[in-house]
């Protein structure tokens, strides 16, 4: 098992290197650079010397090979450099947003788990009844509905409803305050994006829970348990659910990794100052260093999350042993 863990950790290196090379090349394929963008705000005069100075300061006048090697070497030393757009340390910029994205990801994951497992179980147990159809309809709607669109609907709904009920429209705050500073304010901002994202996320997990549980409930050992006289609740809780959760854990793990940095549009809709919004800004601004670091960060999160999921898998199912 330890050998397996070591092998997986070592495999992360070429994966991350590959991701780094890909994003490095893709960024430089797009015409235009951060210096021109920065100085051509209103079609005003742009001094070519100013652009050259900017490029020289940012190292954009060096060869691609030198730029790439510098980027990799700095990354390995955890020196992520400065944003090409703001000139501030990337660690500082990312750190601020990381906290919010993590909070949303955790809240959305909890929402998804709290919805998916009970609903998926009920749907499987009451297969082909009206309860099953309602839950399936609910989960299909969640899969079909983009979370950002749901977010827009939520905000509009709140504005219109509060206006007609209280006479004055209300919407969630658009400025983040950490939860330990003002929990109520924080939750009033984060609950809605968490629900919008968690709903979509839960839809996939609900379907997976239902399918997995249906399969498990048809197994011989479950029939044996019924034959022994165990009640349905105990059968599901003690024998079936644990086995059915294995694929659900994988789904939840992958989705969690996606939530960290993948909620680009949802963050825009709710004006969340998270990693997704930073991603959009860095790509729009041609901020190579920031975009590269963000891609590597998300790639790292994905790789680490998958690894953790695999370990949890082995823990949940003693039959699985990694060599």
């Amino acid at each position: 098992m330890y050998q397996y863990i070591l092998k997986r950790l070592l495999l992360m290196i070429p994966t991350l290197l590959g991701a780094g090379l890909l994003v490095f090349l893709l960024l430089r394929l797009v015409p235009g650079d951060v210096c021109i963008l920065r100085m051509t705000g209103g079609a005003g005069y742009v001094d070519p010397k100013a652009i050259d100075l900017c490029r020289s300061e940012l190292g954009l006048d060096r060869s691609y090979a030198v730029q790439f090697l510098t980027f990799i070497w700095d990354f390995v030393r955890f020196d992520f450099g400065k944003s090409m757009w703001t000139g501030r340390p990337i660690v500082e910029e990312v750190g601020l947003r990381f906290e919010l994205s993590l909070q949303i990801a955790i809240m959305a994951t909890l929402t998804a788990i709290l919805l998916a497992i009970p609903l998926g179980t009920i749907s499987a147990v009451k297969q082909n009844t009206w309860i099953d159809y309602v839950v399936r309809g609910f989960s299909i709607a969640g899969i079909a509905m983009p979370s950002f669109w749901l977010g827009v609907l939520i905000i509009l709904g709140l504005l219109i409803t509060t206006k007609s009920v209280f006479g004055s429209p209300w919407m969630p705050p658009i400025k983040y305050v950490p939860i330990w500073v003002d929990p109520l304010y924080n939750l009033s901002m984060t609950i809605f994006p968490a629900l919008a994202t968690g709903y979509r996320y839960s839809a996939v997990a609900t379907r997976m829970t239902r399918s997995a549980l249906l399969e498990v409930l048809r197994e011989d050992y479950v029939r044996t348990a019924r034959a022994k006289g165990l009640i349905q609740k105990l059968i599901i809780r003690r024998h079936a659910l644990g086995n059915a959760l294995l694929p659900v854990v994988t789904i939840i793990g992958i989705e969690f990794a996606f939530l960290m940095g993948g909620l680009v549009v949802t963050e825009q809709v709710f004006n969340l100052n998270g990693l997704g919004k930073l991603f959009v800004a860095s790509v729009t601004h041609h901020d190579y260093t920031m975009t590269q670091v963000l891609v590597m960060l998300v790639a790292t999160i994905f790789v680490v999350t998958n690894f953790v999921v695999d370990i949890i898998y082995a823990w949940l199912d003693p039959r699985i042993r990694y060599k």
Binding site: G32, M39, G42, M171, K175, T284
Partner: protein
């Protein structure tokens, strides 16, 4: 400022009364109230905090309140392109020495936010940084001050600008809102200190920021204008999605967004909020152009270029496009309403502005036939921004279709769009000219030869045009300036047909009715120090 065109179910009469009341000026309202925090949304975050370096409104909106400038547009009359008032100076000077010397007296007792005194030496140091940037620093507006020979402080309260030649462009350049007055001591410590730090003498002090989220300011109790500012503070919240900005105003998470909204969003706000919303409108010192590439056939032929402009019905387009886009006024190369702008009668002499569009299009077809390209096809490159680029681009395609020209529009994000403009890899491109203070003598520098004007993308050289520009900028006789401007305009739009104006932008600012004191101006860069803004709640 007609609110009624945004209304559907709401009574025009009732709202008209509310709007009329809110536009009746301070004298008809209660006196400004002290207190409160103004929350507003800003569509972008600036890359640095140095006003001398940056060109984006995203710097002005959150950071202008922290700084004083030497002169500025009159906050009580910001729509006037010629009404400048003192900020740090005591009175607007009369130039001497053949209009080449401007002597400003600086207010006494002004302090920076750290308590240190502000003197003429700080003003001089700031303008030297702008006009004669030291090696290794960037100044975005060097070209605005080419006429300046020197700037000196003979004593602590006097600043003297000496010009190489008299120029009507000098005062508007001085009033550019990016000309923040910095501390000479801070600049001496580190010439780039202001890129990441704030320390001004403006109505508000820097009170904090979170990257990507907000910038906060609090009242400067020692501000050099007695009684101001009225606000306790402000919070500029960054949000780049327009839908979020609109919702923020609707949900009262923000009172205003100073750049502007399109007509539909304004209509939605008015319908949702009724009397709780005030709408201000102004012509905007921004214009979309289309520019053919003179180095690509058949656009090297002036007849083809002229045909393209003759096909466009600007007078009709203004009526319809202004309902869906932030464009409206028909004008030439000069901001409409400025004394140097062409009158309607003068405009109607220029191809593309004739009152009879059918006659105009017939002439366009004839020119294309004569040039041997009756079935012209080309690609129009445009910036992938809805308002108003995509809308105007789509409209242009339809206009050209009327004369048998087939056009494919290709949209590009901002970065690649700029790169293409600068590399002249296009047939015809949408182009634009957005400036802050209305300063036509410099603003029309957009149209100069490619090796003279850095904003000129048509790939042409026209020395006669350059000469007219130079002559125009070296005379202080307004009648002479006007005469030369008409020659300049005719050469750009007609004789050489270099580049063509479509429609001037229209700035629409719906805001919460409790925001008072702020008046819309022809530029989203102007009148943003918030010193005279107050909240009526």
């Amino acid at each position: 400022m007609n609110l009624s065109r945004y209304l559907k179910p709401v009574s025009v009469a009732a709202l008209g009364a509310a709007v009329a009341f809110s536009f009746s000026g301070i004298s008809a309202q209660a006196a400004p109230k002290q207190g409160g925090t103004l929350n507003f949304v800003v569509p972008d975050e600036p890359p640095s905090w140095d006003g001398h370096r940056e060109t984006t409104f995203a710097l002005i909106h959150p950071f202008a309140p922290f700084y004083s400038v030497l002169i500025k547009v009159n906050p009580d009359n910001p729509s006037s392109p010629t009404d400048f008032v003192c900020d740090l100076c005591t009175e607007m000077p009369t130039p001497t020495d053949g209009n080449k010397t401007y002597t400003f007296k600086i207010k006494q007792g002004v302090k920076f936010h750290d308590g240190s005194p502000l003197t003429a030496h700080d003003v001089v140091a700031s303008f030297k940084k702008i006009i004669f940037p030291p090696e290794g620093t960037t100044s975005a507006r060097v070209a605005y001050f080419v006429m300046v020979e020197s700037v000196e402080a003979p004593d602590d309260h006097t600043v003297v600008f000496k010009l190489k030649y008299p120029s009507g462009a000098f005062l508007p350049a001085l009033a550019t809102p990016f000309n923040f007055i910095y501390s000479k001591a801070k600049l001496a410590e580190d010439i780039r200190w202001y890129e990441k730090n704030v320390m001004g003498s403006g109505p508000f002090k820097f009170a904090g920021r979170e990257a990507g989220a907000y910038v906060r300011g609090e009242r400067n109790k020692d501000f050099h204008v007695a009684g101001q500012p009225y606000l306790d503070g402000f919070e500029a919240i960054f949000s780049n999605k327009q839908a979020v900005q609109v919702q923020a105003v609707r949900g009262d998470r923000a009172a205003i967004q100073f750049r502007g909204f399109p007509p539909k969003s304004t209509e939605d706000l008015v319908n949702a909020l009724g009397k709780d919303i005030t709408v201000q409108e102004s012509d905007w010192n921004c214009v979309l152009l289309f520019t053919p590439n003179h180095k690509k056939k058949p656009f090297d032929d002036a007849r083809v270029r002229r045909a393209l402009t003759l096909a466009v019905d600007r007078w009709g387009g203004s009526q319809s496009l202004s309902r869906i886009a932030i464009v409206k006024a028909v004008g030439g190369v000069v901001f409409p309403g400025h004394p140097l702008a062409a009158t309607k009668a003068e405009l109607q002499q220029i191809p593309g502005f004739w009152p009879d569009i059918n006659k105009s299009r017939a002439e366009a077809k004839r020119l294309l036939q004569e040039a041997g390209v009756p079935d012209l096809k080309f690609v129009l490159w445009n910036r992938a921004v809805d308002q108003p680029y995509t809308i105007v681009g789509t409209w242009l395609i339809d206009q050209w279709r009327q004369i048998g020209v087939t056009v494919e529009q290709k949209m590009e994000p901002t970065g690649p769009f700029y790169a293409r403009l600068r590399s002249a890899e296009f047939d015809v491109t949408v182009d634009f000219n957005c400036q802050s203070v209305v300063n036509p003598l410099l603003d029309v520098g957009k149209f100069l030869s490619e090796d003279v004007g850095n904003e000129s993308y048509g790939a042409y050289v026209d020395r006669d045009l350059d000469k007219i520009f130079e002559t125009m900028n070296r005379t202080s006789d307004e009648a002479e300036q006007r005469k030369l401007m008409r020659q300049f305009e005719k050469r750009v739009l007609d004789v050489q047909a270099h580049s063509f104006v479509t429609l001037w932008w229209n700035r629409i600012i719906p805001h919460r009715a409790y925001v008072k004191g702020w008046k819309v101006s022809p530029s989203h860069y102007l009148n943003q120090d918030l010193a005279n803004v107050w909240l009526d709640k």
